[in-house]
Amino acid sequence: MVPRLPWGDDASAYAAAFEVWLASPPAELRAATRPIASYEERVAVTSALMRVLFDEGWARYGWPTQLGGLGGDILHRAAMWEALARHGLPAMALFEHLEVLAPTLVAMGEPGFLAEVLPQFLRGEQLWSQGFSEPESGSDLAAVRTRAVAVDGGYAITGRKIWTSWARYATWCLVLARTGTVASRHRGLTAFAVDLRSPGVEVRAIEQANGTDELAEVTFDDVLVGPGRIVGELNGGWRVAMHILSHERGTFAWFRHNFLYRQVLDALAHGEPAGDALLGDALLDLAAVRASSYAALRSHAADVPLGARATFVKLHLASSEQAVQNWRLASDADLAVGIQDDEAAAQRQDYLFSRIVTVYGGSQQMQLDTIAKQILRLP
């Protein structure tokens, strides 16, 4: 167990101490560093690692003490995941949602509920998914149709969510539902924490073009949700969604891009001289996203809202991810046509996924529109 006092205020000292600890890595980290094609297995080994990191205290830094954390801020989490990537962890798997959803849950959720569920999330016991998109509501998020109707004991939710990341592996889903009229658009939305084990919930995994089942379709048929499960205010769901998206587009890039560096380092052995220019290009893009996402972390740690600036970071992340995978494909034709052992299969998954990173979290076209309108102030 890590002492709770020394590093709450000092992410730099925390990073140094964690590095020392990692010098003798636990078996759970070694188990999670090998290539694994199955998402189910990947979630299992990463959850096992998180349990160790939680029990040893490391994963509790960066979260409020009243919610089961050990204090500190996002810089502690930034240091932890960067070190894990450097020490061989290939991806965050479902724990990406710790950096997409959890900051908003902590900022806007009901404290009693969070004190119960956050430690379970951090310990890998009860995981979270994000239920925003619907068949008729993609880029136009304000057109959400899933309804939440006030009933005895809370709200009854009915509707259909799609592209719900990691729902197959999650216990909880943060659902954006309509509590006002359809015409009220973004003003009539509320965010609910829904227990996916509830009667009336059906999760259907969607097999993706890269062979994984990270995404799912989730249907809600009169699912009862208690009043304490509202995140943020009633009809304040848009604010919750924007808070989440500012993380998903901004600070999340810090966490994800560290694993892109990992992928580069792991693939160097396969590198061919013909790919050197592509590799160099990828390293430039990685330097860009590292610098801009670090500025986003600093901004968040200082409580300065990123606002529309998060879109730059999102675009830098997508560019770097595609650049890294462009090089990997050019260096290793096995991804396209070779026998798919676990290593090649996992890399092929990554390559194909990189072709769609310009879609999730707000399509690239939408990001560019945001910059044109809110930053450049074009007519």
Partner: protein
């Protein structure tokens, strides 16, 4: 868009832009800014940030000075005993037609010139004692090529001492060039955004068309990438920078700078391709600066080859970033 840079750097940048924009009198604008005094204390992060902000201002204002040569000469000045600013370095470049050449930026009349010859030490010579030929390139850059052959001149700084100074000089020079490229790219982007807001076709401003909006949004995204990377680089000390970091910064600047100029030119249309419009000055300046101390193309390729050969991690460690509270 200057939101990621330090407040003090921001203030110096604004002041430098104002000073460089003011009508030229008898006063050296760098004197007026107190810029030469900054050279003596580049080890201090804040001083370094202010000193380097000048280059971004030069890019924006299309100003020309000997600042780059003075900055590059600074690590040598401690060895030669020159006062900051009195020694100006020439910059070596390879001409495919005429072999190794040395160029100087700005008006070097009366200055002492440092000509570095990797492998053979560096020589210091009065600029007035050698022949300089003007090089005419657009971009409102004052450029001269050293005509006098100094290959056989006795070394003023022996190779054993010149080596470490050279590494630091190149690193500072690349960062300064990256910032000047950023400034020039911002200069043309400002013009293109204003053009898109006012130029009308089909009865409305062209900036209402998504294709045009996206070109400009990409250009801004490339500017922010470069600004973020230079901000991190300014905060790094000699010992905390990962290997080849200066080359990454310079390569990114050249690549993004050229890309920004191409996108703004596309938005400006034919008027942007005339000599009466300022775009070509910004664009040509970016091309010229990209060609100094390693072009984007050669550095990018070399970076990839190096990473593949060494398997070294070129990322700035989180622990290094966290150490600098200003980063």
């Amino acid at each position: 868009m200057t939101s990621t840079i330090e407040q003090t750097d921001h203030e110096f940048l604004d002041a430098a832009c104002r000073t460089l924009r003011a009508p030229a009198g008898d006063t050296d604008p760098l004197d007026a800014l107190g810029w030469w005094d900054l050279l003596a204390d580049l080890a201090d992060r804040d001083v370094r940030g202010a000193a380097l902000a000048l280059f971004r201002a030069q890019g924006r204002e299309l100003a020309s000075s000997t600042a780059l040569g003075a900055l590059i000469a600074q690590p040598f000045a401690a060895l030669t005993g020159h006062a900051p600013g009195s020694l100006v370095a020439a910059i070596g470049r390879h001409s495919p037609r005429r072999g190794e050449r040395q160029v100087v930026l700005g008006d070097v009349t009366g200055a002492a010139l440092l000509v570095d010859r990797p492998g053979h030490g560096a020589v210091v010579v009065g600029a007035d004692e050698i022949e300089l030929a003007p090089v005419t390139v657009p971009g409102q850059l004052v450029v001269h090529e050293v005509v006098t052959d100094l290959a056989g001149a006795p070394a003023t700084v022996e190779e054993s001492q010149a080596g470490p100074a050279r590494a630091r000089a190149r690193s500072l020079g690349r960062l300064a060039l990256a910032l000047e490229i950023l400034g020039a790219a911002e200069g043309t982007l400002t013009l293109a955004v204003a053009h898109a807001a006012t130029r009308e076709q089909f009865g409305k401003p062209i900036g209402t068309f998504q294709a045009v909006r996206h070109l400009l949004a990409w250009a801004q995204t490339d500017c922010v990438a470069l600004e973020s990377v230079t901000t991190v680089a300014i905060g790094l000390d000699e010992d905390s920078a990962p290997p080849r970091h200066d080359e990454i910064v310079k390569a990114l600047a050249g690549r993004n700078g050229r890309r920004i100029c191409e996108r703004t030119l596309q938005v400006l249309g034919a008027i942007g391709f005339t000599s009466e419009h300022s775009h070509h000055h910004f664009h040509s300046r970016v091309l010229a600066l990209d060609a100094l101390l390693g072009s984007s193309t050669e550095l990018t390729y070399a970076l990839g080859a190096w990473a593949r050969a060494t398997h070294l991690d070129p990322a700035v460690r989180a622990s290094v970033l966290l150490r600098d509270p200003a980063a």
